[in-house]
């Protein structure tokens, strides 16, 4: 793989990781963590085929 192609790939990966970090921060600020916890600690009837 050429070095310029590799450099572009590295830049894309860093961009995606930065995007991921921003998305997690946005999600946390919107209270999504609490929503995930709330869903996970009660029995999900749909998940087990009863809902």
């Amino acid at each position: 793989m050429g070095s310029s192609k590799e450099a572009r790939m590295t830049a894309l990966r860093i961009l995606l990781l930065t995007g991921a970090a921003v998305m997690i921060a946005v999600g946390v600020s919107r209270g999504e963590v609490g929503m995930v916890l709330k869903k996970a600690v009660v029995l999900c009837l749909e998940c087990i085929g009863l809902g």
Partner: protein, 323 residues
């Protein structure tokens, strides 16, 4: 004592399974199995593991994604998508090969011996999981809603065999109040689970190949992930052994960043010249091809007409045998 790559992978898989399902005591609670309700469940596991399994310590990312997008307030989960993006960019489908609890379960089913050779799926089958991701995980929880605007987790509800196996069976079998609510949906999910088990016995990682939406997400990110498979073209003698041993039906020489590759490392182990490497970053060859081939145990042979030339890896394609 040197531990082989196969056993290292198994050890990591078992450790990941244990960490995802460390609350085993919850199966044996008074009054039936109960869920773990601690704070760790606000975090997603990287692999597929039902959060309604009594032993589960983390949330299932696919279940969490649908729970947020199917809620009244929000239609998209930045938290879960960001998490999956981060994990996928770093590791790609290495998660499927090493960290996914349901992946390990499928490999155990594949150990069931068969009188006939394992089957290969038709080419189109690998694209079904992308349809499952779009329709059941992304669209249905947002578009198919009830009167108050809440959508059901359609993938969990109609497809996920992990939920039936890890959550449905232990909960329904130990809690009489749940047994009364069993209906056609539970029957359908048991049918999907039975089909998945039969599929996994006949085809290596049947569910990963055909239906898993998490595998679809990580597969797309395999193309760009930091963890990569690299083939040294100068060392490769195109003997085809890597493609022969691949359980996911990938030819690593032709498609090193295939969306199907779960980075199990079987191809690297089978390569007679050590041309395949799995790891982070770019492969920089340190030794000359001839020296590398000799280090791999291949003896130099005279160049033959139509043969590979240079060095012999005993692939047998040329029809000659080494003394």
């Amino acid at each position: 004592m040197k531990i082989s790559q196969k056993w290292k992978r198994k050890a990591i898989q078992i450790a990941a399974f244990g960490l995802n399902n460390c609350h085993v005591g919850n199966f044996f609670q008074k009054g039936g199995a109960k869920l773990y309700t601690g704070k760790w469940k606000q975090f997603c596991a990287p692999g597929l593991n039902c959060y309604s399994c009594p032993a589960a310590s983390l949330s299932c990312p696919i279940g969490a994604l649908q729970a947020v997008s199917g809620s009244m307030k929000l239609d998209f989960s930045f938290y879960v998508v960001g998490f999956l993006l981060a994990v996928g960019v770093v590791l790609g489908r290495w998660v499927c090969g090493f960290l996914c609890p349901f992946g390990l379960i499928q490999e155990l089913f594949a150990k069931i011996p068969l009188p006939k050779k394992k089957l290969r799926l038709p080419r189109f089958a690998k694209y079904i999981k992308y349809g499952v991701l779009v329709v059941f995980v992304i669209l249905m929880p947002v578009l198919v809603t009830n009167v108050v605007g809440m959508g059901d987790p359609a993938f969990c509800q109609y497809i996920c065999p992990a939920g039936t196996l890890e959550g449905g069976i232990p909960l329904v079998s130990t809690r009489p109040e749940l047994q009364k609510t069993v209906g056609w949906l539970f029957g359908w999910k048991m049918l999907v689970l039975a089909a998945t088990v039969v599929g996994c016995v006949l085809v290596y990682r049947f569910f990963c190949k055909t239906l898993c939406p998490l595998g679809a997400i990580y597969g797309l990110l395999n193309k760009v992930s930091f963890y990569r498979l690299t083939v040294d073209e100068e060392k490769c003698i195109h003997c085809g052994k890597c493609a022969q041993v691949c359980g996911m039906d990938v030819d690593p020489v032709k498609h090193p960043q295939s969306m199907e590759c779960i980075r199990c490392g079987e191809c690297a182990k089978a390569c007679p010249t050590g041309a395949i490497r799995l790891g982070f970053g770019v492969y920089r060859r340190k030794e000359a091809p001839k020296e590398a081939a000799q280090a791999a145990g291949a003896a130099p042979v005279p160049k033959m007409e139509g043969g590979c030339g240079g060095h012999c890896a005993q692939c047998g394609k040329c029809g000659t045998k080494r003394d």
